[in-house]
Amino acid sequence: MNITATLFGQMITFVIFVWFIKAYLWEPLTSAMDERTNKIADGLASAELGEKRIDEANIEYNRIVDEAKSKASDVITMANQQSSNIIGEAKTISKKEADKIIALSNQQIGQDLNIAKDTLRKDISRIAISCAEKIIKAEINEEKHKAIFDEALKELK
């Protein structure tokens, strides 16, 4: 083999070829591949993150539900307690009221009884007097027995 222009021609061709492949194929493709690798890695990472979030959300959900359940039972217990309290209170109040009413009506009855007794006594005494008057009118005069009546009336005073 002689050293000829062919050798240098081939060398130049080779250098141009390498440069072209580097600039137009290697670099765009490797950067695209790197980008894709990053994208896939990001995708996997975010998928993992999403899964983690779902787990977290489930835990949170369970926690909230448990909390709500316990709160609800608390509320029910409290309501029961409250209602029994209210009933008890109402019972005592109504008992008191009833007692008061009973006492009052007893008192009223006593008063009425006294009034009735009074009235009855007055009526009886009036009837007795009128009867006595009629009897006395028919038998004795006033002057004769004035002293007896006066004495009796004195006694009433």
Binding site: T13, I21, W26, L29
Partner: protein, 266 residues
Amino acid sequence: MSQGEGPATDNPVAYISHHLQPLQYGDGFWQINVDTMFFSTLIMLGVMWVAYKVGKNVSVGAPTGAQNILETLIDFVNGLVKEAFPKPNKIVGPLGLTIFVWVFLMNAMDLIPVDLLPKAAEMMGIVGQDGKYALKVVPTTDPHTTFAMALTVFAICVYYNVKNKGLGGYFKSFLVHPFGIALAPINFVLTMVEEIAKPLSLALRLFGNMFTGELVFLLIAILPWYIIPIPGSMWAIFHILVITLQAFIFMVLTIMYISLASEESH
């Protein structure tokens, strides 16, 4: 000369020597092997066209078609480069890929029947200086091609040696390896031989393999036509392996040589 057996068997020596004759123009230094230049450049343009198309329409999403194939190739070459280079290197990847693709396709020209393109060229009036067909369609059977690549690789090696070891350090490595400074002259001769052997072996290995491969195809071609298919197809199938292997070896050795040259002095 017997009649009717075809040109190959009429005069086997002339047939083979004609086939090994490059299509040359010019004299002395300006002698150009037109066939070598033409076919290697044609293959280069074809590859460039595909590369440009794929590179321009590159998609980050799921790759399809040619991009898929080229990405696989790039991954393969990049794997070799990353194995050999501790620090990233911007040149050696594209260099290795170019060598692999180019050498593979130039070698693959060997699989075209040996008489097809020379005869076609002869019909178009493209003939050698003696007026007969002369066309070597496999550029890698021309040592100019293999030496051009090997010397370019060698130049890159020298560049990286000087860059990483410094001019003095590079020269010093000739004196102290492998036996230490006491045996400097012997070291110098040994390292010199070692360094020169690298491009020489690189170029001659590819050239030798492809030249002999072509020669075997020519020898098969001078057999009677009814025998040709059996050894012809067998050799062609075997040659697919040789073609790929030689392209791969050239690429791997290039990567290894440049990786050695990129080492810091120790």
